[in-house]
Symmetry: C2
Subunit: 131 residues, 2 copies
């Protein structure tokens, strides 16, 4: 059994951020769970263009608000506490922060190693870290 | 892209409960994400003896409080907003509700089909539903 406390992650290499997002990596590939699990904060008013070509991602909002635009269909879905979106088709999308910071719980399959960076097109490359 | 709203799940076959727990299945095996994702509520004062022999499970608390007892080591870990536990070794454990209902986000690998029931020993059996 492994216990992970968000407060112990803050300020470590599991606490990463970029323009318009902060991500705390609760579980990574090396944790051997078959998926990775992240807590991501999207500040109010942020806009992120994303395309996870190599991963499936599910995102569940537990606080705050915002929206997601599906770039394949043009549809925009409101996000708030109790709404999940699943990128089950490597969907290109835009996440927009709303009027309050969004708190999102994100699961990736296959698991993220933690060494990926966002490519210019908003995806994570696949990293083979040997474990 | 798939959008799942908690309010649409309440009262459906994805909203299940037993003594001391309620689980809303946001994503199941048939959703094809590689994991399943659940929102589980543990009422204040509940006690659950669990042993997922066939699944790995990660549980992240986003509200309320309680504790988990590791039956292999006897250790008890406090759970509150921002604490995750990962059952990376099919750990036998007891989850106890605290003074407020606990809101838990749970990911299972392999994904749960939704047709499992808790065995007498607190595990989910593996169900091959052919998809």
């Amino acid at each position: 059994m492994k216990i992970v406390r968000l407060e112990d992650i803050i300020g470590t290499d599991r606490d990463v951020e970029g323009p318009g997002w902060k991500s705390r990596r609760l579980l990574l590939k090396k944790d051997g769970m078959g998926f990775s699990l992240h807590e991501t904060i999207i500040p109010a008013g942020a806009e992120l263009h994303l395309w996870y070509k190599n991963h499936l991602e599910a995102v569940y909002c537990v606080a705050g608000n915002g929206s997601i635009e599906d770039l394949d269909t043009g549809e925009v879905h409101e996000i708030h506490d109790g709404v999940l979106y699943a990128l089950d088709n490597h969907d290109r999308h835009i996440v927009r922060g709303g009027t309050e910071d969004m708190r999102l719980i994100c699961a990736f399959y296959p698991p993220v190693t933690g060494r990926e960076t966002h490519d210019a097109d908003g995806s994570y490359e696949l990293v083979d870290d040997g474990d």
